[in-house]
């Protein structure tokens, strides 16, 4: 059988009238889509290599390039999608596992889009956040059982939005630097992921949550001491139950230094921590970290949202975690098998609601903060997650979009034209950390302002009062069981 030609997923259209043959696209596209032929003095295209990152479109000084989606056609079929067909062809040729980047793009019900917010009308006044104080300050950590007891260590956030774990290795140092600086200046947290803390980011350590994952890369006592908080990573929404794998070719000198492994070796993170096979073992690691850091900082645990998420979260809180991070099925990744990303885990809206409910029923909700994450697209998603019970949220994909990402989902190739998911110096220098910091700061600012507006409309002047306040939410087009799990009423039902 003839080896199939890969079909193109994009049409790259060059307007010949506008093109001045400056060849910027030829030089810049890391996927070698544009090619200059001196003989004919023309720019030729290899469209099948285009990943749809829209970089050349933005770059072209005369606006001559348009990149359009082109879905390879097969005969109309309700069951088989052309994507399925071409994936099988690719696997028939390679025998390999399909890889992907970013969060799942599969058509699941978007619960956030079936939830609406309340506002005050007549019976209670709304508040104008431009004229009246509006409190977004959020404290992450264990709260004492009695008001007179001493307050355990807390993280103080000026907005309930933090930047999620993205390791140096999965993203570039310039991308990490952008987020670190923005978090530092805004007064929120960023997270190292499982890749160590690069020397150059030490100035932003006051605002860093460091991760301890199964590979223990870069983890030593200085790393733990430098951090504001420590997060034990058990799993992530994009790939629950499976480990990580940074291929050796991406482990260059700087990454080697930060992860503290030799250049060129595969960085394998085993699926489980092999010193954690139970809640008791987890408790042991939590307290080992607390002992090593002399009980001075919150220690939390991150898990993927899976079927048993509520009882697991309860176990984690009872094991002594000061915060629990739940990452839903839309959670992003630098690289994951597509089949896992798109089929394992549960939506964050349901997960956060059932965890909050369970912890309340058990009377231990005060013992840990709840952080939700996994594909938050707007301030509306954030505020709904908080009303469903989260104390704060982590954003990852949205933060990267603020840095230029166009969701091409090819992060695993290491050729990100936007200088984000790559270590190639030619590409990373395109992302100026000063500008990146400004842009991601702007995102935090904009969402925070919007949250204040929405809160004001509800007549609430502190985010504290919205936490788990499900009366402010109503479902639209949800079934009874969905409403029950979310703990909300259907639109039309009064208080």
């Amino acid at each position: 059988m003839a080896k199939s030609k890969y079909k193109t997923d994009f049409r790259v259209i060059r307007d010949q009238e506008k093109c001045i043959k400056c060849q910027a696209c030829v030089r810049m596209c890391s996927n070698d889509v544009h090619y200059y032929d001196p003989e004919t003095d023309s720019i030729i295209l290899q469209e099948e290599k285009c990943v749809g990152c829209h970089f050349c479109e933005d770059l072209c000084p005369t606006g001559a390039i348009t990149v359009k989606r082109e879905i390879p056609e097969i005969k109309f079929n309700q069951h088989w999608d052309s994507k399925d067909v071409y994936n099988i062809i690719k696997q028939a040729e390679t025998g390999g596992v399909l890889l992907t980047g970013m969060g799942s793009d599969k058509k699941f019900k978007e619960y956030f889009d079936h939830i609406v917010l309340n506002a005050s009308q007549v019976t209670n006044p709304s508040i104008d956040p431009l004229r009246e104080p509006m409190e977004l300050r959020t404290f992450i950590g264990r709260k004492p059982d009695n008001i007179n007891d001493e307050l355990p260590p807390q993280l103080v956030l000026e907005t309930p939005i933090m930047f999620t774990a993205m390791s140096y290795g999965s993203i570039s140092l310039n991308a990490q630097k952008s987020l670190a600086k923005a978090a530092f200046e805004f007064g929120t947290m960023w997270n190292t992921g499982e890749g160590g803390l690069h020397q150059e980011l030490l100035p932003y350590a006051k605002n860093v949550i460091v991760q301890v994952a199964s590979g223990r890369f870069g983890v030593d006592i200085d790393y733990l001491e430098n951090a504001a908080a420590v997060e034990i990573k058990i799993g992530q929404g994009a790939k629950p139950g499976i480990g990580g794998h940074l291929p050796g070719e991406k482990v260059d000198q700087e990454i080697s230094k930060t992860r503290r492994i030799p250049i060129g070796t595969d960085a394998l993170s085993p699926a489980p921590h092999h010193d954690i096979y139970s809640i008791e073992d987890l408790k042991q690691l939590i307290f080992a970290i607390k002992e090593a850091t002399r009980y001075k900082k919150p220690v939390g645990v991150k898990i993927a949202a899976v079927h048993n998420v509520a009882p697991i979260a309860s176990g984690i809180v009872r094991a002594g975690a000061d915060f629990v991070v739940i990452d839903g099925i839309r959670g992003g990744t630098g690289a994951a098998p597509t089949v896992i990303r798109d089929n394992v885990g549960i939506p964050i809206e349901l997960a956060v609601a059932v965890v909050d409910q369970r912890l309340r029923e058990e009377g231990i909700r005060n013992q840990a903060s709840l952080i939700a994450s996994g594909g938050f697209r707007s301030s509306a998603d954030v505020i709904k997650a908080i009303a469903l019970g989260a104390d704060a949220v982590y954003i990852g994909t949205a933060a990267l979009i603020s840095l230029g990402c166009h969701l091409c989902q090819k992060c695993y190739t290491g050729k990100c034209n936007w200088g984000i998911a790559t270590q190639d110096p030619y590409l990373t220098k395109r992302l100026n950390p000063e500008i990146g910091a400004k842009r991601s700061y702007n995102l935090l600012r904009a969402w925070s302002l919007e949250i204040k507006e929405m809160l004001g409309g509800m007549g609430i002047n502190a985010i504290e009062s919205l936490r788990g306040n499900r009366e402010q939410l109503r479902g639209v087009g949800l079934t009874e069981i969905e409403l029950k799990l979310l703990g909300i009423k259907h639109a039309g039902e009064a208080w």
């Binding site: 690719k90 696997q91 040729e93 390679t94 025998g95 390999g96 596992v97 399909l98 890889l99 199964s214 590979g215 223990r216 983890v219 030593d220 006592i221 200085d222 733990l224 001491e225 794998h245 291929p247 050796g248 080697s256 503290r260 492994i261 030799p262 060129g264 070796t265 595969d266 394998l268 085993p270 092999h274 010193d275 042991q284 307290f287 080992a288 002992e291 090593a292 850091t293 002399r294 190739t413």
Partner: protein, 246 residues
């Protein structure tokens, strides 16, 4: 200066607080802990050049995240000895439990007798840091799983049986494991490792660490080194390459 702390009746938190406060005095370079009965996290995250003598049974996660201290245990140690340790030395004059040296990046662990399951998982070396585990007796299943660097030596001194369990070196992609036996059933090995005869460099490495081992436990080095060793090594530093369709 030497300080003595009596651990009797102390919760681990109290004991470690005492140790911490004692170490605030710069002059202290040796701490003797008496009557230790399984208190956890002794010397956790300690990055000072001090010496500990532990009389009794050291609890879980002895020397976790430790960076530079030395610990001598006159007795047994429980699980997690030297977990994610960076540098330093732990000498156990007895047996130790499961998960010894997990994710260990440097330093040495010497165990006179046996160790439990999952010893040396994901050990890795980096530059001057080179982790070493020497076990006088036997080790349980999953020895050196995911190992990425450093050395594990198992001597099997106190029995004729094979001193390792199943799945030795599964997922191993760096470092080496030496077992003092003539041969090993390949079925016990992870599919990423192969056996090999020893080179002169291997022998030098073994004599160095077995030499230290013998010194700590007053054993005769010559007798131990007289017999055959098997070397296990990963035949690929990329056991998981070629898995993906790009």
């Amino acid at each position: 200066m030497k300080e003595i702390i009596n651990a009797e009746g102390l919760h681990y938190k109290e004991l470690n607080e005492k140790i911490h406060n004692t170490l605030l005095k710069d002059s202290v370079d040796e701490i003797v802990l008496e009557n230790v009965v399984g208190q956890r996290y002794i010397a956790a995250g300690l990055n000072k050049k001090v010496r500990f003598i532990i009389n009794g049974t050291a609890g879980n996660d002895l020397g976790i995240f430790m960076d530079g201290a030395e610990i001598f245990v006159n007795g047994n140690a429980q699980d997690g000895v030297g977990n994610t340790m960076n540098s330093g030395k732990i000498v156990v004059n007895g047996s130790a439990g499961d998960v010894i040296g997990y994710g260990m990046r440097g330093g040495c662990i010497y165990i006179k007798k046996d160790a439990g399951y999952r010893v040396g998982i994901h050990m890795k070396s980096y530059k001057e840091n080179f982790p070493v585990i020497v076990i006088g007796g036997s080790a349980g299943d999953f020895l050196g799983e995911y190992m990425a660097g450093g050395v594990i030596i198992v001597l099997g001194l106190y029995s004729d049986k094979l001193p390792v369990g199943d799945f030795v070196g599964t997922g191993m992609h760096g470092g080496s494991i030496y077992i003092k036996r003539k041969n090993i059933d390949e079925r016990l090995l992870g599919k990423e490792v192969k056996t090999k005869d020893l080179s002169k460099e291997d022998m030098d490495l073994i004599s160095k660490y077995v030499g230290d081992f013998c010194k700590y436990f007053s054993l005769e080095q010559k007798e131990i080194l007289n017999e055959n060793f098997i070397k296990l090594y990963p035949y690929s530093s990329r056991p998981y390459g070629r898995l993906y369709a790009y």
